[in-house]
């Protein structure tokens, strides 16, 4: 029961964020890059809910646009990782001779710390949002492939796959109609967590200046800008930092809740 409540909390948080990110730009005139030098370093107040930064830019607008970027990057990473990881995992799990080759390459990729690998790829490709997404997708694909392969190895030996084979199903049919649908729940859980990791890693990359060049208001970049001013204007770092924490927390709660709901071993408790 407690778990379910946490899932609801996570889902609510994420829905609220989505709502803010989608609806606020429609009703408010957000100008994340308009600087008003008269209004530098305004603390949070009624005219500027999150305050302003050292160029007099409205932080609320910047954080919301940053949220759009983070969510888009997170979603694209999840999508690409999901597709690639599933394909690779299915291939490795089903085609026995391919397994060793594919998984050793994946292991080699996993040997690098995730953020380090992403930094290397993003640095090599150049500073742009697309390259950040490519870097993150490449970084997280091996994890997804591994989870997928593990599920495929279990499901492929189940009786109903054998039964389908005994009734003349082709390999493609076995893989896509009988194995894949039964491997989806661990994948779904994993992708929720990858969404969270991707947002964290994206913030880290932008913080380190590997993301798109300024003045693009990514969360990581805003924090990096405000870092040297943290004593004078702590709100510059505070709000994007809070945004990252809340988003990642929400996603993790959803992931936990999904895992419990989809894992039959956990279901006994409820």
């Amino acid at each position: 029961m407690r778990r379910q409540k946490l899932f609801v909390v996570g889902a609510t948080v994420l829905l609220a964020i989505l709502l803010v990110v989608v609806v606020l730009p429609l009703i408010m005139d957000l100008q994340p890059n308009r600087s008003q030098m008269r209004l530098r370093f305004r603390p949070p107040g009624l005219t500027h809910l999150f305050g302003t930064d050292n160029f007099g830019r409205d932080l609320l607008a910047r954080v919301i646009v940053g949220a759009q970027i983070s969510l888009v990057v997170g979603f694209c990473t999840v999508f690409v990782t999901g597709v690639l990881g599933t394909a690779i995992g299915l291939l490795a799990g089903y085609v026995r001779w391919a397994d060793n080759v594919i998984m050793r390459v994946m292991d080699a990729m996993m040997a690098f710390p995730a953020v380090l690998l992403a930094i290397a790829i993003a640095a090599a490709l150049g500073p742009s949002l697309t390259n950040v997404m490519i870097a993150l997708a490449v970084t997280y694909t091996p994890r997804t492939a591994r989870i997928m392969r593990a599920s495929v190895l279990v499901v492929r030996e189940l009786d109903y796959v054998e039964a389908a084979r005994a009734s003349g199903a082709s390999h493609l049919r076995l893989v896509f109609c009988h194995i894949l649908p039964n491997c989806l729940s661990p994948l779904l859980v994993q992708l929720t967590f990858i969404f969270a990791y991707a947002i964290l890693a994206e913030a880290a990359l932008n913080f380190l200046g590997i993301g798109p060049p300024p003045p693009t208001p990514t969360w990581g970049a805003i924090i990096a800008d405000g870092r040297s001013l943290v004593r004078e204007a702590p709100w510059i770092c505070l709000f994007p930092g809070l945004a990252i924490s809340v988003t990642v927390l929400g996603l993790n709660l959803i992931g936990d809740g999904l895992r419990d709901a989809l894992d039959p071993r956990m279901r006994v408790e409820t």
């Binding site: 109609c177 649908p181 039964n182």
Partner: protein, 326 residues
């Protein structure tokens, strides 16, 4: 006698392990006539399920050596390309499995699963295939089939799921049905219902059936002819009544003796001393000799051949003299 539907000759299935080849099925030969029901009886690990999988070409590709000849309807199955085998499986020959609980895919409705096989082999439209699925559910006696068509496997009882399995296996009207312990996972009353259903369908559709089981009760009730397997070989083969009234191989005798009599009290249940030898440590000669009460020196040296004592009764034992020898 017309040509048999299925002719298995000298079938061998061996696993490669640590450089050795371990024969789990070793020179099995039998024939199945059209419309006949053959029971294959044996303990776990005697090779009966492997024999079935070999006929359908479902053995894993790696690490397994197979040999021998399998012909269905005069057509060689061994060495047939995988695509050809796919066309035959579920269409000309099908199989039903022991565990109906796990042999159905949990994410599709039973209707979809029956329809899938039919569409695959007949290339008909989705609607036609669903109509066929409905027809099959009616045929196997599932109440309110229209509603059940849209049920998922977990919404059904074990007996019903086995009926669904039978529908899937028979949707394309195969000639050969292999039933691998179809009633083992079911409780006794449901077992009887499923066997009755199989018997009825067999008569109606003109099926030939191989029933794999370790239950002599099921055999006595259901099959025309029995092959008894022990440690990868057929040790005795006879018409059911003959086998029960005149068992010749010591293993068959021991098996029959281990059935407790229904009308008298007994002090202890009869059992066969020892256990089935492990694959890696098969005795030389007759594989039953370490457990055989009557084993002689000859039994330890060479494997006995499966020889007829009567035209339709074959035994692989040195202690039984073949027809015309004595």
């Amino acid at each position: 006698m017309s040509a048999p539907l299925l002719d298995v000759e000298d079938l061998r299935v061996a696993f490669r392990s640590e450089g050795r080849s371990l024969a789990a099925v070793d020179g099995v030969s039998f024939r199945l006539a059209r419309g006949e029901t053959l029971g294959i009886v044996g303990e776990s690990g005697s090779g009966k399920s492997l024999t079935a999988l070999a006929i359908l070409g479902l053995l894993p590709v790696g690490g397994v050596d197979t040999g021998g000849r399998i012909s269905l309807d005069g057509r060689r199955l061994d060495g047939l390309a995988e695509a050809e085998m796919q066309r035959l499986r579920g269409n000309v020959m099908s199989m039903i499995f022991q565990e109906p609980a796990t042999a159905l895919n949990p994410v599709f409705t039973v209707g979809e699963q029956i329809a899938e096989v039919y569409r695959q082999h007949r290339g008909v439209s989705r609607r036609e295939a669903m109509a066929r699925a409905l027809e099959m559910l009616k045929l196997v006696g599932i109440p309110s089939p229209e509603r059940r068509l849209r049920d998922y496997p977990h919404q059904m009882s074990g007996g019903m799921r086995q009926r669904v399995m039978i529908s899937i296996a028979l949707a394309c009207e195969p000639k050969l049905l292999i039933a691998d312990e179809p009633t083992t996972a079911l409780d006794v009353t449901i077992q009887a219902q499923v066997l009755d259903l199989l018997r009825e369908l067999k008569a109606r559709l003109g099926l030939s059936v191989i029933l794999i089981t370790h239950s002599l009760g099921v055999v006595a009730e259901f099959v025309d002819r029995v092959a008894v397997m022990y440690a990868g070989r057929i040790v005795e083969e006879a018409p059911t009544a003959e086998l029960f009234s005149r068992p010749l191989h010591p293993y068959t005798k021991a098996l029959l003796a281990s059935i407790p009599p229904i009308d008298e009290e007994i002090a202890t249940l009869q059992s066969i001393p020892g256990t089935v030898p492990p694959l890696s440590d098969m005795p030389v000669g007759c594989r039953f000799h370490p457990r055989c009460p009557a084993a002689t020196n000859a039994c330890r040296l060479n494997p006995p051949l499966l020889l007829p004592v009567q035209p339709d009764h074959r035994v692989a034992c040195f202690l039984v003299s073949p027809a015309g020898a004595s």
